[in-house]
Symmetry: C2
Subunit: 336 residues, 2 copies
Amino acid sequence: MRQAGKKPTMKDVAREAGVALGTVSNVFNGVPVGREYRLKVEEAASRLGYSVNIYARGLRAVKTNTVAVILPGLNHMFFSQLANYLCNALSRRDCRMLLSTTEYDPEAESRCIQMLRKNMVDGIIGLTYSATQFDVEGMPYVSIDRVISPTVPCVASDNYQGGILAAEKLIGLGCKRLLCLRLGSRLLGETDKRGSGFAHICTVQNVDFVMKRLNDEDGFEGVIRFLEGEIQGGKLPYDGIFCSTDLLAHHVICYLEKRGIRVPEDVQVIGYDGVRAFFTEELVCSTIVQPIRQIAETAVDILLSTDRSLASALVCLPVTYAPGGTTKELVTPLGQ
Amino acid sequence: MRQAGKKPTMKDVAREAGVALGTVSNVFNGVPVGREYRLKVEEAASRLGYSVNIYARGLRAVKTNTVAVILPGLNHMFFSQLANYLCNALSRRDCRMLLSTTEYDPEAESRCIQMLRKNMVDGIIGLTYSATQFDVEGMPYVSIDRVISPTVPCVASDNYQGGILAAEKLIGLGCKRLLCLRLGSRLLGETDKRGSGFAHICTVQNVDFVMKRLNDEDGFEGVIRFLEGEIQGGKLPYDGIFCSTDLLAHHVICYLEKRGIRVPEDVQVIGYDGVRAFFTEELVCSTIVQPIRQIAETAVDILLSTDRSLASALVCLPVTYAPGGTTKELVTPLGQ
DNA sequence: TTGTAAGCGTTATCAC
DNA sequence: GTGATAACGCTTACAA
């Protein structure tokens, strides 16, 4: 019913090729087999249009060629780009991608993981806020942007270095009084290091700065309210702002312009992520660019690597700075 | 090895609950079972942390609770939003989503479908450019934005009506000479109707218009080249442009502004899709908004509906017009 | 309802 | 390398 003519099985292939059933199985599992046998099998298989039944294979609990990906949602540029690259990287490894979104619901995360471990996937790549070591233990798991425990590998961009870059850049561009704006989950993750790196440089270089941390519940409105309170006489007491994400930077910039504060003339802004406006080449603002593709590929590499002991707990991938029109770039280094 | 403590099976649940194996099976398949038995089974199952092994179930070829989604990629706002809503709609139906991207490779499409039918998914939702009736026959399939054959259900926005809306709007806003710009696949799809609806209104209302169709190979550069050739004395001989997608509109608008042609003062522009700049509320341009969430939910409904005969071949979902700053909206209808 | 048992297609393990 | 055969966990059919 699902299939017009019923599907050929390994037995059919074995008969067609005139070899033993086990030989066919070996061929499809990459087990070394005499060259001529292998050819006979492959030819017979393609003649019959055969391919392995993944459910029968999965039942034997060896390898399902399926990796689950857990993301908060696809409604954010960073997540959708990540999903895209993960999908490519997995398919290049002949792996299918099972995508689950948690809709930012912490409880959905562990429910999701529990469900998946029953469903026998080869492993999970998850970007979660509250999954615990308990949730993931006993199964191949790679976390993105959050260290779950020292024994669970985590891949992230070099958030600390990104914060450093941002601070150095703003200071190098002449800023005297900085603001670091963070809007994120109440739960700690790797991304919090962005602010730490930023603060470190400000302290070392003895530059005034204010650190403002808000939580998701506050929303962008919370940020705007904060800025509203900071403005004195139509002016902001900062000449440089580092926002923890490009999206936040975007909202801040829109607000500032509405209040008649010019970007980058009056205040320079740097974001984090490097997302492009609807996947074109255009950046949203000057920003610290995450190597999203590399993050995806590294996560897949670590997950699928047989030698999991080699996976260090935290892999930080290098970030770069890219001007996007919200900073006063120096045309020549001599121009300083 | 995959699992710390090995997983409980139906047999374990049956023993724990003190009922027959078949009863447990029935409970998990929604087959009517005496109330007290059902409760005993459910309690035992949760006590043991049991859930059905989808591979064993899939082997019997009944229902895998898995739906495959095929998209060109996730690197376009429309696709990633679609994927997001599909994922939600499926998970609400307790279905897992297997996501494959074809990277816009027509050959990858049928390869992908062939692969999936061997892999026994409950059905496929595909946005493809070249998949044929042959590819999909014999399996539950719902196509998006392209009619594959009269027997394969297709869900799309009401593209024709969208074209009509765009033309009526531009004409209503005073445009006298229109341009319809289309950039898309060489292969025909539902989206081509956007231009047809547009042309129809122009013809009926006797308004001058030019229809320019380019293919993906030409790229945005091709469109720019065309516009370059049209400009005479720094002016464009059009006062209204309908672009087949928001992304195209965005490129056109950027180019026009670079050439000193003001939008919407000199020329008004309407796009199609209704994508938001990185998932905020902001539209990219004045546009015809597709009901993406509804498209996703309808596709899932049709695919999972047992009564597939009810599925009409083509379902066109209503679109709406939304101003986005690239048209000269009339403040009051009397203002005309 | 209850046992029991036969498959589903693969993999893995035997002798040979 | 070959056969044959025992799992894997579930669904389905059967007689009781």
